[in-house]
């Protein structure tokens, strides 16, 4: 018990020290966080309507589209990398595993944080655990978020135990680490796809460009692609921001895998539109068609074209650019499915996010950046910092 107390005190001290000595950029992030947090407090007093343009016609807005749907998709680097390293024998990619798991863990914690803003009665967030409704996709989503966050905590824990020299705990985790990774992959598969299943219930509201019975599959496949892209994206930015050596020799292999996943995604998307005889919708001159074409051209075809070239993959900047395209494409896809592709009735109020909604989302992102910067600096995350005697898990 005393040991735990000592650890908590040490962590708090270290974090405060980190904030005190942080860069100008992080100070701006702190400012955004504080402003966003004040907004959130205001919402707890006066309701969601007081800080958002959400209305009865658009009960879900920016927070669901970005903080939750994109947040979970962008955290997919965790299960893809953990799987590649620990299950599929890609031991040489181990240096990428811890940063990817950290990003995923933070991502999920931030999703839960965002839910505390978006849920009308967040103090009942635990209800799905006791009040079962197994027919509800939202029920599945809730369980997946909870269980996978626990798994991510386990996957992240070796770094924590190593930092504090807790050898016994470290070894205990090792004994069930692989089953943990497998559980994480199963939960991620369910979770990524179930976010697509959420939209199966609105065949009448979602434009047929996106509504399809295989939406869950598409969400899963695109999550795998964006998970790999996120590892490249994050590793490149971290290398630049913290003046580390680039891991391009490993990242280029991730770059090589992406086009294969994207091609599966592309075939699904086009094949599905053809099978449902909705191709003509893409040639109508409207915002939805344009949004789809950007998703297709920038998010899928362009990265396939770039990443199938060996020279391009080995150039860090081009690789980063291609990964950014994949991320942009998947983010746009989630917005298309949950917001842009939604049709409402003529009498209803249209929706565009309120400025304060953007501030809340910025607050969530800022919190992620601050914690990420702290953790990579003070925990054995990168391979050069990881405990030399152990294999980094």
């Amino acid at each position: 018990m005393n040991q735990l107390k000592a650890i908590v005190i040490a962590l708090v001290r270290e974090f405060i020290q980190f904030l005190r000595t942080s860069s100008v950029f992080l100070r701006i992030m702190m400012l955004i966080f504080v402003a966003g947090f004040a907004t959130i407090l205001y919402r707890y007093l006066f309701g969601i309507g007081a800080i958002s343009n959400l209305n009865d016609a658009y009960p879900w807005g920016l927070w669901i589209s970005f903080d939750v749907l994109c947040g979970v998709a962008l955290a997919a680097g965790g299960f893809t990398t953990a799987g590649a390293v620990h299950i599929f024998g890609g031991k040489k990619y181990e240096p990428l595993a811890r940063p990817a798991i950290l990003t995923a863990f933070l991502g999920y914690l931030l999703v839960i944080g965002a839910l505390w803003v978006d849920l009308g009665r967040p103090w009942k967030i635990w209800h799905p655990m006791v009040l079962w409704q197994p027919h509800s996709v939202m029920f599945e989503v809730g369980w997946c978020v909870m269980l996978y966050t626990i798994v991510l905590a386990i996957e992240f824990s070796p770094a924590f135990f190593e930092k504090f020299g807790l050898e016994k705990a470290r070894n205990a985790v090792r004994s069930f680490y692989v089953p943990g990774v497998i559980a994480g992959m199963i939960l991620s598969t369910l979770h990524q796809s179930s976010l697509g299943s959420l939209f199966l219930i609105v065949p009448h509201k979602l434009s047929p460009i996106w509504w399809t019975p295989i939406l869950p599959l598409m969400f899963f496949v695109s999550a795998v692609a964006v998970g790999l892209a996120m590892v490249i994206f994050e590793s490149t930015i971290a290398a630049k921001a913290f003046k580390r050596e680039s891991e391009i020799h490993l990242l280029k292999d991730f770059g090589r895998a992406i086009p294969w996943v994207l091609m599966v995604y592309l075939v699904m998307k086009i094949g599905d539109l053809v099978a449902r005889q909705q191709v003509m919708l893409l040639f109508e001159m409207n915002g939805m068609a344009v949004a789809f074409w950007i998703e297709l051209l920038v998010g899928i075809l362009l990265p396939i074209a770039i990443l199938t070239q060996r020279d391009a993959r080995e150039d860090g900047r081009i690789l980063f650019g291609a990964a950014s395209c994949v991320i942009l494409g998947v983010v746009l896809n989630r917005f298309n499915v949950s917001m842009i592709g939604m049709r409402s009735q003529a009498w209803q109020t249209p929706y565009f996010p309120h400025l304060l909604e953007f501030l809340v989302t910025a607050c969530v992102i800022a919190a992620g950046i601050i914690i990420y910067a702290y953790v990579v600096k003070h925990f054995p995350i990168w391979h050069e910092a990881a405990h030399s005697g152990h294999s980094a898990e």
Binding site: Y44, L45, F46, G47, I48, G49, A50, L54, D56, A57, P59, W60, G83, H86, I87, F88, G89, D118, L119, G120, R121, P122, K124, I125, H127, P128, L131, Q133, P134, H135, S136, V137, M138, F139, E140, V141, G142, V178, I182, M185, I186, T189, L190, S193, S194, S197, L198, L200, I201, V202, P203, H204, K205, P213, P216, S344, Q345, W347, Q348, T349
Partner: protein, 264 residues
């Protein structure tokens, strides 16, 4: 199962149903607002304090311009999308037919609002402890054998309350006996698997703002397919990943052992 038969051709637009609904459910008054759209209608849409709404539509019927009234309210679907969407069973289809919301269970995720094909559940956007609000078919009145307040007050009998099966028969007989007075459709008989509110109209339903592109299948059946796949995915993926790990790990061990043997 109980339900309503709403005959829009009998509606005179007096809005007694809206007032009675407010009185029984203790709903506060709404401030009238101006909006571009149909004539005398107010408010524009259902909200947390309006569970039923008479819509005013200026349409041509029988060769002349007419006011055609529509009636929007919870349709009390036979297999409600909202109830299957709710992760905590806060919304339930009662045996009596009403789709009822339990306050204490609700977490405020608003998936019910999203899932509803008729845009019915509303939310208290300005409340620190918000509720999902909609017509309850006056479930509390039904429980003590009373008729829902809107049906009770309607002066022209445009809102009938009764057994759904009887109401379907009544609607069919009205269509049969007076075919020229109606669009030949009972709205709600088949939409999304059928609803407990049935509507007859003298003008096409889409012109009155009723969604007419709804599937005949119940909405929960769409998500059920995806949910049924879960056990298979869990078991299948668990096996595949477990076996893959064993195989690849074994290959590594064999290779390592081979190396050692070679050296010795």
């Amino acid at each position: 199962m109980k339900g309503f038969l709403i005959d829009n051709s009998k509606c005179i637009g007096c809005r007694a149903c809206m007032v009675a609904c407010k009185q029984w459910n203790n709903l506060t008054a709404s401030k009238p607002v101006f909006f571009s759209g149909p004539g005398y209608q107010n408010p524009r849409d259902l909200d947390a304090n309006n569970f039923t709404l008479i819509t005013y539509n200026e349409l041509e019927t029988g060769g002349r311009m007419n006011w055609v009234f529509g009636n929007r309210r919870c349709m009390h679907c036979n297999d409600p999308g909202c109830a299957s969407a709710c992760p905590v069973k806060a919304l339930e289809k009662t045996p009596e037919g009403a789709v009822y919301w339990n306050a204490w269970k609700c977490i405020g995720c608003r998936y019910c609002m999203f899932a509803c094909p008729y845009h019915i559940p509303t939310f208290e956007w300005r409340s620190a402890n918000p509720e999902i609000r909609k017509c309850t078919m006056c479930y509390d009145r039904m429980k003590v054998g009373m008729v829902p307040s809107c049906a009770k007050v309607c002066p022209t009998g445009a809102i009938l309350f009764g057994e759904r099966a009887d109401l379907v028969a009544e609607a069919e007989s009205r269509l049969r006996n007076n075919p020229s007075a109606y669009v030949h459709q009972i709205y709600g008989k088949d939409e999304v698997g059928g609803t407990c509110v049935l509507i007859l109209s003298e003008a096409p339903f889409d012109q009155l703002g009723y969604p007419t592109d709804l599937p005949k299948r119940s909405l929960p059946s769409y998500t059920a397919q995806a949910m049924e796949a879960i056990p298979g995915v869990v078991v299948g993926l668990g096996l595949v990943l477990g076996i893959t790990y064993k195989l690849i790990n074994r290959r590594g061990e064999v290779a390592a052992a081979g190396e050692k043997g070679g050296r010795a």
